[in-house]
């Protein structure tokens, strides 16, 4: 699995569970030998950097629109992508990655107060992990663990 690369696509960082799950997922993937790239807007990236100043868990950090440009221009490819979404914009970014990387495994981690409604509008090929989580990451952590058991 050493050649496996994963993109973690962060959404707007306003919902607390996202950062906790990004750190957890990144660290777990790295433990499994996966090369991890984390994309987000500057606020999300800074939250991650401050939370993990010694880089125990995080992979390489990249601004989200730069990540999209790198994929379009063929500079980067990912065998799997985990897209975090708690709003329509998160779904939109995930759909973009789905279209740009049709061969990669796409996992959508959908959370927030409207998680079920958001999940219902996802009509592209993706494995959905859905939970009405805002502050408590444990339900989604369990679902991530189940996915990692067979996906990596």
């Amino acid at each position: 699995m050493r050649n496996t690369t994963a993109l973690l696509l962060m959404g707007c960082p306003e919902v607390p569970v996202q950062m906790s799950l990004v750190l957890y997922l990144s660290g777990t993937l790295r433990d499994k030998g996966v090369e991890v790239f984390i994309a987000g807007n500057p606020a999300a990236l800074n939250l991650a950097r401050v939370a993990d100043r010694k880089r125990c868990y995080l992979g390489r950090m990249i601004e989200i629109d730069r990540a999209i440009a790198d994929i379009v221009e063929g500079r980067r490819d990912f065998s799997m992508c985990f897209a975090f979404a708690h709003n329509d914009a998160g779904i939109t970014y995930a759909a973009t990655v789905r279209a740009l990387l049709p061969e990669s495994k796409l996992f959508m981690i959908i959370f927030g107060r409207n998680a079920e409604e958001l999940a219902a509008v996802v009509d592209f090929d993706a494995e959905k992990l859905v939970e009405r989580a805002v502050h408590n990451p444990l339900g989604l952590k369990k679902k991530i663990d189940e996915v990692l058991a067979w996906a990596v």
Partner: protein, 102 residues
């Protein structure tokens, strides 16, 4: 700040879903074309749920969706006749390609 924001385009709609942006462009523009995500417009790759509708107005303005993680989707309008012509040309090529695939 991205290239598009530096253009200071007119904001027609803000805080909407991507689907609403597509429906607005389809119903309000003089002509419109569909593209796949990653289509380059004003120097930036456009994010979106395919198909992405990009509109053109008679005055040479381009009307397009623009998504940011914390602000949702906007519909922006910017007058640039050369870019409008490029959208028209590539949009027609995209239509021809989709016809050939059938």
């Amino acid at each position: 700040m991205g290239c598009i924001e530096m253009l200071k385009p007119q904001v027609l709609l803000r805080g909407i879903s991507f689907k609403e942006a597509r429906e607005y462009i389809e119903s309000s523009c003089d002509e419109y074309y569909y593209f796949q995500p990653g289509f380059k417009l004003f120097g930036e790759y456009i994010i979106g749920v395919p198909p992405i509708a990009v509109g053109i107005m008679k005055d040479g303005s381009v009307v397009f969706p623009y998504t940011k993680p914390c602000h949702g989707t906007f519909v922006l309008k910017h007058r640039d006749e050369a870019e409008a012509e490029r959208v028209r040309r590539l949009g027609r090529e995209e239509v021809m390609r989709s016809i050939k695939r059938r």
